[in-house]
């Protein structure tokens, strides 16, 4: 679908308990933010499969933001520890997937941290705008990249 306005595509995966609440808090406090980010609500950052992020990038997302509860604060005791391990590893895999790691950020925002959420959104959006739109992958490469592991230097 063509963009009616010049927003870039930033997909945010947020846990229901802390960061989604933090985004709500920012909204209730009317803390202005850029409009590029769209939020996918998940129960826990531990629910986020790195595959979701890869698929978002291959689908044309210009940036992906993941946010969950601060370590120790997880509603499910330890979901965010699982998330942290997976995402830290995933961050290192991004270059191999042909994706600039600068387009990905994972962070922790609690339900009370509306201002922090505003800053995270503003900073990350500014960073994605500096990087510009995600280079489009050719259709054939897209299918290949998503279905088979891509060696560094290949693909895009």
């Amino acid at each position: 679908m063509p963009d009616p306005v010049a927003d870039l595509r930033i997909v945010g995966f947020l846990c229901n308990w802390c960061s989604y609440g933090g985004a709500d808090t920012a909204g209730v406090a009317r803390l202005a933010q850029p409009t590029d980010l769209r939020i996918v609500r998940v129960p826990c950052s531990g629910r986020i499969d790195p595959l979701f992020i890869a698929k978002a990038f291959y689908g044309g997302a210009d940036g992906v933001l993941v946010s969950g509860c601060h370590p120790r604060d997880c509603h499910y005791s330890e979901g965010n520890y699982h998330a942290r391990r997976r995402l830290e590893l995933f961050l290192r895999l991004l270059p191999a997937l042909g994706i600039d790691p600068g387009r990905f950020l994972y962070t922790w925002v609690s339900a009370s941290e509306g201002q922090r959420w505003q800053r995270v959104v503003a900073d990350f959006t500014a960073r994605i705008h500096a990087l510009g739109p995600m280079p489009r992958l050719r259709e054939t490469d897209l299918a290949a990249a998503a279905c088979h592991p891509v060696a560094p230097g290949e693909g895009a």
Binding site: D3, F52, S77
Partner: protein, 659 residues
Amino acid sequence: MRLGVFVCHCGSNIAATVDCAAVAEAARAMPDVAFAADSIYTCSEPGQEAIVAAVAEHGLDGVVVASCSPRMHERTFRRTVARAGLNPYMFEMANIREHVSWVGRDKERNTAKATDLVRMAVEKLRRNRPLTPREFPATRRVLVIGGGVAGIQAALDCADGGLEVVLVERTASIGGKMAQLDKTFPTVDCSSCVLGPRMVDVAQHPDITLYAYSEVAAVSGWVGNFEVSIRRKATYVDWNKCTGCGECIKKCPAKDAPDPFNAGLAPARAINIPFPQAIPKKAVINAAHCKQLTTGKCGVCAKVCPSGAIDYAMTDTTVTEKVGAVIVATGYELFDPTVYGQYGGGRYPDVITSMQYERMLSASGPTGGHVVRPSDGREPQSVVFIQCVGSRDRHIGRPYCSGFCCMYTAKQAILTRDHVPGAQTYVFYMDIRSPGKGYDEFIRRAMEEYGVRYVRGRVSRIFPKGDRLVVRGADTLMAAQVQVEADLVVLAVGAEHAPGAQELAATLRVSIDEHGFFLEGHPKLKPVETNTAGVYLAGACQGPKDIPASVSQASAAAAKVLGLFARGTLASDPQVALVDPRRCVGCLKCLKTCPFGAIREEQGRDGAVRALVVETVCQGCGVCCVTCPQGAVQLQHFTDDQILAEVEALCRTPLPTCG
């Protein structure tokens, strides 16, 4: 599938910066959308009725409401669609208020963003499945861990509410810290006169089973159906026979056992009843100090016991109880002031802790209520209190305020004047924190009526001078160094987590905070719940609390438990993980990662091992789904397909598919 979309104006909250009519118009073109409308207040009665009417009129299978946060009104609208005859889970919400209209200023961009969010919700809803909560029976019994004032209150409230209560207390008597206190602030009324009758109520209540001198060893099961194994420690006295007459204590030759009730101010006998008002009032032998048990050469208590209750061969036993809910009321521990070497606690006999002083003030204490110097038994004429010993000091890992020390120090300073007329009292403080009802007035009385001299500043050092002590510190209001000669120094020690809190938290699968206190479900809206369903918190185990706060929280926890059981059966949240047995290869990685122990190993009819989710234990975090290499575990309502459908709705290009 026929879906309906309702775009809410929320008055001008959304409509001012989002073109709601345009969003509804765009929604009409989305797949499966059979009806779309915008309304001024969707959550109002006419707004909800419009949804019910549209479901009937257009034969809708699911509803999307684009309005405020689902954290606000998801439940409201689920009830609405249920009223319209749909499954409540055939509903999705797009948050176009908190996440769009309130944070974006550009109407065109906001409208585009709102349309995207509606498209996501529609794509997710197209993949929703009706879900049904499962009803399961609950054991209408509650376990209360800890018999301090919070545990006592929680147990009595639950029992009076018609529940059977199992109360487990680690020490030989209930009563906790409050039983050790002489008076309570700000009323200066007698602690045991308030607590004593409540303790008796516990003992006499037909629905309370009290296990004193016992510990919770293991907990299995889930909300409504916990199984608890309780270790009853060997007392070496048959409590069925013991009458609490105390003959054995009088004759026991081992006189050097510690006496935790008197805070180490005086030794106790090896066989002892903790205090005169103890519940149960039964003797316990301290095995480490009993001559019969250590050397085999005594047996005096067995000879003098008129009821033949002594049993040197007794061992620990374990009992199992089934309960439906757990209230944790394990309280706190007082800070050990020997950490501050400069104060000389533990080195100088006339530097004592606030609890030792409290026992000294008590008529039932080791000095019979006389305030004396431990070194020479002389009445002190100058008493210095030092506050924040183990509070608000990040250098020793206690950055938090213990909350009650300011108040008990004022109380003890006031009582000092009553016990030793003419004595001069000083309080070194950092800030006075007295926010409770009647608290600030109480501090003022200490200063104005009782002439307690408050010095704002930290004490740097205490050292002996002759048979007195010199307290050297700063007076930050005078900007000067000060020095006070004292006969007795009382360290107002702060609170820290109870010993064993971490182990108990692991047993109960609940979290503790960075300071070792139990973590509440939500600091504002779930202060007595934990993240584990059916486990509640009462009193200072959740953080330092005074008596009124502990009692309030205990009653709140009891109310939560009574509410939990009010319907007879419990309903499980159906948004839980589900294993596809055809795809599960039995690697059991999910079992290892599940934070709640909600996944069980199960052997199928074909003999193969598979994972099985216990619906009522699963909390729906989805950690297992990502762990499963086969994609065999899916979190219902948040499946891979559903989340990826939302992602795809946001993407420029369709996601590539494999094969």
